[in-house]
Symmetry: C2
Subunit: 548 residues, 2 copies
Amino acid sequence: MELSSTSVVPVRFETHPSRYVHWRLEVEPPMARLVMDVQEDRPLRPGYPLKTNSYDLGVDIELADAVGRLRFEHPEVKALVVTSGKDRIFCSGANIYMLGSSSHSFKVNFCKYTNETRLAIEDASSSSRLKSLAAVNGACAGGGYELALACDEILLVDDASSAVSLPEVSLLAVLPGTGGLTRVTDKRKVRRDLADVFSSLGEGVKGKRAVEWRLVDETVALSRFTARVSERARALAASVPDKPGPGVVLPPLEGRYSDDAIEHRYVHLKVDAGARVAELTVLGPDSGEPDSPAAIRERGGELWSLRAFRELDDVLLDLRFNRPEVGVVVLKTRGDAPRVLAADAALAANPGDWFVNEVVHHLKRVLKRLDLTARSLIALVDEGSCFAGSLMELALAADRSYMLSSDGGPTIAFSPLNRGALPMANGLSRLATRFLAEPATAEVPLDQAFDAGAAAKAGLVTFAPDEIDWDDEVRLVLEERASLSPDALTGMEANLRFAGPETMETKIFGRLSAWQNWIFQRPNAVGERGALTLYGKPERAKFSWIRT
Amino acid sequence: MELSSTSVVPVRFETHPSRYVHWRLEVEPPMARLVMDVQEDRPLRPGYPLKTNSYDLGVDIELADAVGRLRFEHPEVKALVVTSGKDRIFCSGANIYMLGSSSHSFKVNFCKYTNETRLAIEDASSSSRLKSLAAVNGACAGGGYELALACDEILLVDDASSAVSLPEVSLLAVLPGTGGLTRVTDKRKVRRDLADVFSSLGEGVKGKRAVEWRLVDETVALSRFTARVSERARALAASVPDKPGPGVVLPPLEGRYSDDAIEHRYVHLKVDAGARVAELTVLGPDSGEPDSPAAIRERGGELWSLRAFRELDDVLLDLRFNRPEVGVVVLKTRGDAPRVLAADAALAANPGDWFVNEVVHHLKRVLKRLDLTARSLIALVDEGSCFAGSLMELALAADRSYMLSSDGGPTIAFSPLNRGALPMANGLSRLATRFLAEPATAEVPLDQAFDAGAAAKAGLVTFAPDEIDWDDEVRLVLEERASLSPDALTGMEANLRFAGPETMETKIFGRLSAWQNWIFQRPNAVGERGALTLYGKPERAKFSWIRT
C-alpha cells in the first residue's frame, strides 16, 4: 500500500517543546540535551510502528523546531548534545516501512526536509555559536549516523557492540541519501576507499577502527561515557563567545489553513487548483519597524522580518507536502518598500547583536528553502508591490520575474542584505549567481529605486511588459508553465537555479539527492521484488543485473 | 519496442576518417572543417532513420574519433570549424526515435559517451591548442546546440529562420542533458532567468536576442557567413602557438573480441559471465621505452603509453555498451614496474613537446573515462603486477585496492605523472582526492617502492592481506560486490569517487546527468503516454501533475 502524499490529514509544521512526542529538550546552560526517545506507537500517519528509535517526518519536525527554537529562545546554550533515551540504540534511521509505503514524491520531499534539518544543525554551529555533539550511546545506523554526521563532534560508546553504519546499499538497495555519502567524504574526509567499504558493509564499524577511519572522533568506554560527553560539551561551549541577554520567544503563528488558502499575518497563499497555480503574497511591515538593538529585541518574535519569514517557511513546507499538484507559485508582495528597506537597514546596522544575527540567518535559511522548492517560481512585480531588500530576494530566487512598466508604476530597490548576507547554498548571493558573466553588475546601488525600464536594462527582472500586454503575458507564462512536465521542470530548475560553484550543501541536493531520487524509481529498490519493498519480509529481493 | 543494450551486434568504437559515414573531415592547415552530413539510412542499428542531421551513437563515435585523431595526426591544425553539410539545418540533436526505443541503460551510457565527446572538444582547446568554432549554418536544436556549446565560439547565421534552441523540456519532457543546462549557465554564463525562458521555449532564440542573451557570440548574414567563419577561424588559429613537426598516425588496434574476452596487445579482458566479474589486465612495456622527444616521436603510435591507454579506452567502452551485466571489474597489471616508471619519466621530462603533451592528456582522458565507468572497480596488486606511475592511477581510481603482503611480494611506486598531470574531473589528482583529510600525504615520495605493509600504512591501498588470507578475501569482496543492487552501487560510486570540489565537468556528470537519469525513469517521459514515447505520434502526452 502506498501512502499518498496528498493525505486526507495535511501535515502541519509548527510545534513546541511542550508538545514534543519523540524528543526531550533539556536545557542546562551553557548546554542543552536533545534526547531522542521515539514513541513507536505515534507515527505521523498510521501504518508503521516507529521501532528502534527510527524516525518519520513527525520526528524530524520536532527536531527542526528544537534546533531553530534553541537559537532564539536559549542564547545561553552554546553546546547541544544529541543523544538517545533508549537502551543500546542511538537511532536506526528513517523508518523503512514508512519509506517503503510512501509515494515517490513524499519520499523525495521527506529526504529534502530531513537534509534541510541536518544542514540547520550545521548552520547553528557555523553562524550561531551553537556547537553540537552527537553522543552515540548505542547502535547508530543509516539516518541515525547521518544525524550524527551533522554534529561538530561524534562520540561513540565503546561497549563491544555499538557501531556506526550506513546499511542502505546492502540492506535496502538505496543510498544513505540524507547527506551520508557526501558528509563522509567531504566533511569527515574519510578516504574514499574506506568510505566504500563502510558504505557497502551492513554491519558498520566500531571501536578503534571507527576512529582511525575518521567515522567518529572518539570512542569512550560505557563507564566513562556520560562524563566524557559532558566534558567535551563543556569544551565546545567554551570555544564560542557568549550571546548576552535573555532569549526571544517564538510565538505561535496561528495561521488559518483551508483547501485553497493559507492566511498568516504577513503571508497569504491562494490556490487555483484547476490552473495548478498558487499565489503567494508577502506583506511588508504594517508600521514602522524598530531600529535600535534594544527596540528590536523588545519587538522580539513579532518583529516583521522574523515573523514574515517564519510564515513564509510554513507556507513553503505546506506547499511541498500538502499541495503536490500546484506546479507554479506566483510570488507577490504588497506594502511599503521604504519600510522593508528600513527593517533591513536596522538588521544590517547591528551585525554584532546575536538576536539580529539570528534573524538574518533565519531569513537566509528560509530563502534557501525557497530555492530548493521544486515548483516553478514566477515573481510578479506589479502595482502596490514592495520588492525591496530582503523581499527582492524573492524575485531573485524566482525562475523568472515580470515587472509592470507604467508611469508611476512599481519600483524595486536593494538593501545591504542583498549584498551577501543572504547567500544561496552555492555560497554566492542571488545577485552574484544572476550576474556570473558580469560580477560588477551584482554590485547594485542601494540608493536607487529602479522602475521597470531601469530594472530591465540592468538585468534585474526578466521582462517588463506595459499595461496593455501585462495580463496576456502573465496569463501566457502561467498557462505555458503549468502545461509542461512537472518532472522535466523539476530537473531543469534544479540545474538552472544553481549556476556557478558547488558546495557540500549543493552536492547533497544535487549529486547525492538526484542519484537517490533515481534509485527511488528503480525496480531494484521499489519494484515488487525490490529490496526496499521487501524489507522485513521473508522473500529475498530480486535484482536486474544490468549496470546503468 | 525497446532496443536492448545487449544487442546481438556489439558496438565497436574504432573507426577512421576513411570510413566515416556521417562526417567529412577536411584539413586545410591551420584549419580543419568537420562537416556533419548524417546519412539518414545508416543508423547504428536498424529502426530509426537519422533525419534532419540527428545523431545516434554511430555518429558520435565518428566525431570522437575525428577530434582525438586531429590532435595526434594533424598538429598543424589549430582551429576546428564544426558545421553542417545540410541545407538550412545545422543539427537537430540526438535522434528521438533512437532514444525512445532504447533501454534505460543504453540511454544513460549513450548520453555519458556524448558528454565525454563534448568535453574532449573542450579539452582539445584548453590542453592542445586546438580551438573550435561552431559555424551554425541552419537550425540548431537540442543536442545540436549542445555540440555548439562545446566549441569556443558560436557563429549563428542570420537568415530570419535559423535559431538555437533547447526544446527537450517542452517537446520531450526530458532535459538538455548533454551538458546543455550546465554549459548555458556555467560556461556561457547566460543569466539564469533567461536560461529558464530559453530552455522552456521550444522554438528557440535567434538574431540579436541570441547574442544579447549570450547564447551565441555573433550572428552573421547568410551572404557574409562563410567569409566571417573563415576570418574567425583564422583568428582562433593565430591565437595559439604552433605545434612543430609532422603528425603521428594512430594505428588500428586490431583487437580480438569474443563473448568472454578481448585481446589487445597490452590490455586483456576476461569475463566470467556467471560471476558477473571481468578481469581487466594491463601489461607494462614489453621492452625499454624511448626517452628523448625524437625517439618518442619515432615510436609514435606504437609508444606503450599511447597504445596501452588507447586499448584500455576501447575496453572500457566495450564494457559499458556490450557487457552491461558485468558488475565488477578487477583491475590487474603485469610487467616490469621500472619500465613503466621510465616511460612516465620520459613523458614528464618533456612537457614542452606537443606529442608528449598529447600522450599525457590522452592518459588523463582515459583515466577519467575509468572514473566514470559505472562498474565496481577492484584493484588487485598481486604477484607480478606493476602498479607504478600511470598504472598506479588504475589502483587509485578503483573503489578499493587489495595488495598482497608477502616476502618479496609486489610493490607499488609513483612517477611525476601521479602529482597532478592526470587530474580527475574534479580538478584534483587521484592522490589529492584520496587524501582530502591530509593533503601532505598526497605528496608521495617518487624514489620509493612501497611493499604491502608500507603501502597500507601510508593509506595507498585499502587492504593488505597475506598469502593465507588473499584468496578468501578476494573471493569474498567479488561475491559481496556482485550480490548488491547494481543501481545502488552506481549511485554510491558516483558519490564516493568524486569527493571534494566540483567543476563544470563534474556538474555535468553529477547534477545534470543524475537528474536526467531520474527523468529517463519517469512515466511523464518514458511511460506509455510519456512525451518521449509519443514523440512524432498523433497522441498527446498525458502527464501526472504531481510535482516531486
